[in-house]
Amino acid sequence: MMKESNLNEQPLFDATPDMFEPAGTAEMQDKEKISAPSLSFMQDSWRRLKKNKVAMVSLVLLILITAISFLAPVIAPHNPNTQTVEHANLPPRIPGVDINGFNGTIDQNGTRFDKYEMEGASDAYYYLGTDSLGRDLLSRILYGTRVSLIIAFVAALLNLTIGVTYGLISGWVGGKVDNVMQRILEVLSGVPNLVVVILMLLVLDPGIGSIIVALALTEWISMARIVRAQTLKVKNQEYILAAKTLGQSSLNIAYRHILPNLLGVVIIQVMFSIPSAIFFEAFLSFIGIGIPAPNASLGTLINDGYKTFRFLPHLMWYPAGIMSVIMVSFNLLADGMRDAFDPKMRD
């Protein structure tokens, strides 16, 4: 009380009304404006991802590889399955390039031979050589990459659909439904994928379709778990309560409000499931139950190349190299996306 009266007696300065201006002029309102454009979740993540050089290089590489392999029917120099027996086992030969390894010569007991001339194929050019049946390796790699990528993409899409649906229902409906669905998952998760895939491939006709089904049937479990966990987190947020209060139907909330908030984790999970599908396909081809001959996938090409590896190593190294590049790129991109989508979730 004392203090206040003291202050009143001795004002620090004389305040007169003309020293004040009304707030709310145009200039002041400008300060309140959000100058940066408002970004959606995807835009924001994309902005962060763009800063990650490694991820961007991987993305560009993947787009290139995908585009080239999907254009295989247009750009492949030869038919991938045509056997030209007299052109078998030719080394790589690229017109205008005279470096050993790319000029069609081979080293036999210390001297270089032009293998193309020896086989009477001097006007043929096989950029990456031919296999033991005289099929052009480059064309086979192009088609094989396409098959491997199709398997991976479709399997990932199916596993996404099944996993998200299962996880969302389990998490959102909750209660007894969740309980039963979780018990089922718990039993299923002990089943080794490998075993199911192999058994399915023994029963179904071998081919792209069977591999996709087998992969989709086994890979969705981890997706379902992650989606459920995330749904449980999201479901207690205020905006869900608000949506409920406003009378939105359950289905609508799941679809309009929960699903978009799962996007980050789902995309990351899909990104990691693609390389694992590519690997699994290659593995199946390697143990002999993959894509049936004469069609190629990267896995069958590596397996075929492995058989003649000591004498014609390029038949294995090229497909193995492409596959490694694809796998590394997917993993790097997935890592980058995880950091971009959720900086807190680096695990």
Binding site: V203, I302, Y306, F330, N331
Partner: protein, 313 residues
């Protein structure tokens, strides 16, 4: 503690359910498969086939066969192999488990140890070139298929330097290359995992306290940090086992090692169904046991988890 026992009991129950499910799936899938067990059926008279069916119980109703099969599983009888002169599958597996186990264990031990050390170094040198190269190495290890690694190892150590055997099974020397090939992926996984966990742990209060007491940086990392990193590391044992199973099939085939994986691949090629079923059950049992072990271990080594599960139950 009582609730914890209840939790373990529940886990065991699910484990048995899983095994039962797998057994059922394999049995009925195998029944769906085309072909008969008799390799030269044309030469057999109907009477002979009848006698054989009688002997192996193949003329009984399918549900009875299923019951017999399940009973066999419980008592360790997996039937006889179609391919190897009627050898019981159990015997076949038993004779091949040694090399597989040796390579698998060597790979896990070496891979995890190297991975943990790499992960700790990467976390300590966070943000430097050491960190980025360790991370990159881990991604390469995770990305490049193990059969490519196996062939590379064969080429470098077997063909170029000619220092190690690249095929067949003649003791420890021939287990080195396959173990390394198999160790790559556990190494990459544990390195990545250790790094992220370690980064977390290093910024925690107790590490700061230890540093404030005047302990050295590396001493803190290994004495205080490592213990807390190892606990969550137990959880990747399950996925690691799966990786080892897949890996062993490929690696054993490439290095011509008389193990389970190689046998499985051979059986698939020759449609030796009882052996496929037997190995399938063995793999499932192994995986389910590892998952159970992880659950149990996790509760024992980290009391916080036990408390949490008790709260839940």
């Amino acid at each position: 503690m009582k609730n914890y026992a209840k939790f373990i009991g529940k886990r065991v129950f699910y484990m048995l359910m899983t095994l039962f499910l797998i057994a059922t799936i394999t049995f009925f899938l195998m029944k769906l498969l085309p072909g008969t067990p008799y390799s030269n059926q044309d030469k057999l008279s109907p009477e002979q086939i009848h006698i054989m069916n009688e002997k192996y119980g193949l003329n009984k109703p399918i549900l009875v066969q299923y019951g017999i099969y399940l009973f066999g599983l419980v008592t360790g009888d997996l039937g006889v192999s179609f391919q190897f002169n009627n050898t019981p599958v159990t015997e076949l597996i038993a004779s091949r488990i040694g090399p597989s186990a040796q390579i698998g264990i060597q790979a896990v031990v070496v891979g995890t140890l190297v991975g943990i050390v790499l992960g700790i170094i990467a976390a300590m040198k966070q943000g430097t070139w050491v960190d980025s190269s360790a991370t990159f190495a881990a991604i390469i290890g995770r990305s490049i298929p193990n059969f490519v690694f196996a062939v590379l190892l064969q080429l470098v150590f077997g063909v170029w330097f000619n220092v190690l055997p690249i095929a067949l099974w003649t003791g420890f020397a021939s287990s080195i290359l396959p173990s390394i090939a198999l160790a790559i992926s556990p190494m990459a996984d544990s390195a990545r995992f250790t790094r992220t966990e370690m980064v977390d742990v290093l910024s925690s209060d107790y590490v700061e306290l230890a540093r404030a007491k005047g302990l050295g940086k590396w001493e803190v990392a290994f004495k205080h940090g490592l213990r807390n990193v190892l606990i969550p590391l137990v959880t990747i044992l399950g996925p690691m086992t799966v990786g080892l199973m897949t890996g062993s099939m490929v690696v054993e085939s490439i290095f011509a090692i008389p193990g389970i994986g190689e046998q499985f691949v051979k059986s698939i090629m020759t449609n030796d169904y009882p052996t496929i079923m037997g190995v399938t059950m063995l793999y499932s049992l192994l995986l389910v046991s590892v998952i159970l072990l992880v659950d149990v271990l996790y509760g024992i080594i980290d009391p916080r988890i036990r408390v949490a599960t008790e709260g839940e139950a």
